[in-house]
């Protein structure tokens, strides 16, 4: 066995992964928070007012990073589900299922902030714009994965079934996007482009990118937190979990 596979086996073993995740997780959360606050300062205070949209455009600093995260989390989930189904690696199963609720949260934020942005810009809370519609379908895909995972008793079987669904969804996403785009051209009337070809100033772009970085780091922190729980559930009968379960009782007593 070469050094790399050895390393994977060692890191992929639940107790090691649990400990490693525990060590990295607070850094992700902390870094995400700090970067996010800096980005917010840049976006809300430093960035100039948009000549067309006024201050309303400032929603972009959370809307767009969250939209990116929604997609990123889905691909992260699907990639892990693929690894889990093909090589039956426990850690990947847990990682995939940990990403689902986080991705769903980001997608939800995208939809709500998009709606809040749409009201002053388009005069309506909701429009059947291609992006919004695709985003809605993405949210349903997430909810399907989460629902299926919750509905099956055996944790490994649940992860495999939900992972399989996530893989079907990953094929579905571009098809939905393509079909919704086509559908939208058929009903041109209601289309309003959210982001026109207007040039974005440098003072606007850096908070956006920084916020994207912050959400990514935050995402990994949250995924690791959920992964730890998933590992505990999966390895419930093992000694290392027993030590953790009993250790926490003592700590509280």
């Amino acid at each position: 066995m070469n050094a790399l596979t050895l390393w994977f086996h060692k890191t992929g073993s639940p107790p090691t992964a649990y400990r490693l995740a525990g060590r990295i997780m607070p850094w992700c959360y902390g870094l995400g928070l700090v970067l996010g606050l800096v980005a917010l300062y840049g976006g809300l205070v430093l960035a100039p007012r948009d000549y067309q949209q006024g201050d309303a455009y400032r929603i972009i600093f959370i809307h767009v990073p969250c939209a990116w995260m929604g997609l990123f989390a889905y691909f992260f989930m699907a990639a892990n589900a693929f690894i889990a189904l093909v090589w039956r690696i426990k850690l990947s199963e847990v990682l995939a299922m940990a990403a689902a609720p986080v991705g769903a949260a980001f997608t939800f934020i995208t939809l709500v902030t998009g709606s809040l942005w749409g009201k002053p810009m388009w005069g309506t809370w909701w429009t059947w714009d291609a992006r919004l519609t695709s985003e809605l379908v993405l949210l349903f895909l997430y909810l399907g994965v989460i629902g299926l995972h919750a509905a099956i008793e055996d944790r490994r079987q649940a992860a495999r079934a939900a992972g399989f669904l996530a893989l079907i969804g990953v094929v579905n996403i571009p098809i939905v996007h393509f079909s919704v785009n086509w559908w939208n051209t058929l009903h041109q009337g209601s289309t309003v482009r959210l982001m026109g070809p207007s040039k974005i100033d440098g003072s606007m772009i850096w908070p956006l990118l920084l916020m994207a970085l912050a959400t990514h780091v935050w995402f990994f922190g949250s995924v690791l937190a959920r992964t730890r729980i998933g590992l505990l559930e999966l390895d419930g009968g093992k000694d290392w979990v027993r030590a953790i379960a009993l250790g926490e009782t003592e700590a509280r007593a």
């Binding site: 349903f140 299926l148 079987q157 495999r160 399989f164 079907i168 579905n172 939905v176 079909s179 086509w182």
Partner: protein, 227 residues
């Protein structure tokens, strides 16, 4: 046909499923009645103006048939799962995906095809525009096998759950979105005097692809949920 050959197995399965449908023929009309009721609800909700109904006719018929198919999906594996014949199917030495393809085909023939046959009637209830009378069944003919095949994969994932109805809808509907868009979209385009061949061709292409992939995915999903 040699007994024990894959062909014989498929034939036996098709014959059995058709016999079963015939023995339960009372249930066969249920999807049609359901679609009829859904379509009848629209004039009641929106008012009887023919012009308004004509505008939405194709879309409403499409959605009604999609929902009727969704309700019928549950019967695809349920009884086979409950009486243990699904296990026998999985344990047979023949390619599971092929056997499942046969099952899905019979299911489509007995649930979706009758709906297509009554679709002109449903359209007439909503004053469907004359040029769409031929196009709507054609679009349905391309779209409903897609719905059945995609639905079968999701049913296979939820097989064995006691109350899978809502969950199944949640899993299936995102997959149905593109089919609905192209199927109903073709009709709407034709109604607006736009070219409508492209969406139909897309549906056809998707059907060929899904015809190959869905039984394989369905078999893999079934193995996961039976374990």
């Amino acid at each position: 046909m040699k007994p024990g050959s894959t062909l014989a197995a498929c034939a036996a399965l098709v014959r059995r499923d058709l016999t079963l449908v015939w023995r339960r023929r009372g249930d066969a009309a249920n999807p049609i009645l359901f679609a009829l009721i859904v379509v009848a609800l629209f004039p009641l909700a929106l008012g009887p103006e023919p012009e308004q109904l004509r505008r939405i006719a194709a879309g409403v018929v499409f959605v009604a048939i999609l929902l009727a198919g969704l309700l019928a999906l549950d019967t695809l594996f349920r009884s086979d799962y409950e009486d243990g014949s699904l296990e026998q199917l999985v344990l047979s030495p023949h390619p599971l995906s092929l056997l499942l393809a046969c099952k899905i085909a019979v299911h489509w023939l007995t649930t979706a095809l009758p709906l297509i046959v009554v679709s002109p009637l449903l359209g007439e209830l909503l004053h469907l525009a004359a040029p769409l009378r031929g196009l709507l069944p054609l679009a349905l003919l391309l779209a409903t096998p897609l719905l059945s095949l995609l639905g079968a994969v999701c049913v296979a994932l939820t097989v064995g759950m006691h109350r899978s109805g809502m969950l199944l809808a949640l899993l299936v509907l995102p997959l149905y979105v593109p089919v609905l868009i192209f199927g109903a979209g073709a009709c709407n385009a034709a109604q607006a005097g736009l070219p409508f061949a492209a969406p139909l061709l897309w549906l056809g292409a998707a059907l060929v692809l899904v015809l190959v992939l869905a039984p394989l995915a369905c078999a893999a999903a079934l193995r996961i949920s039976l374990s």
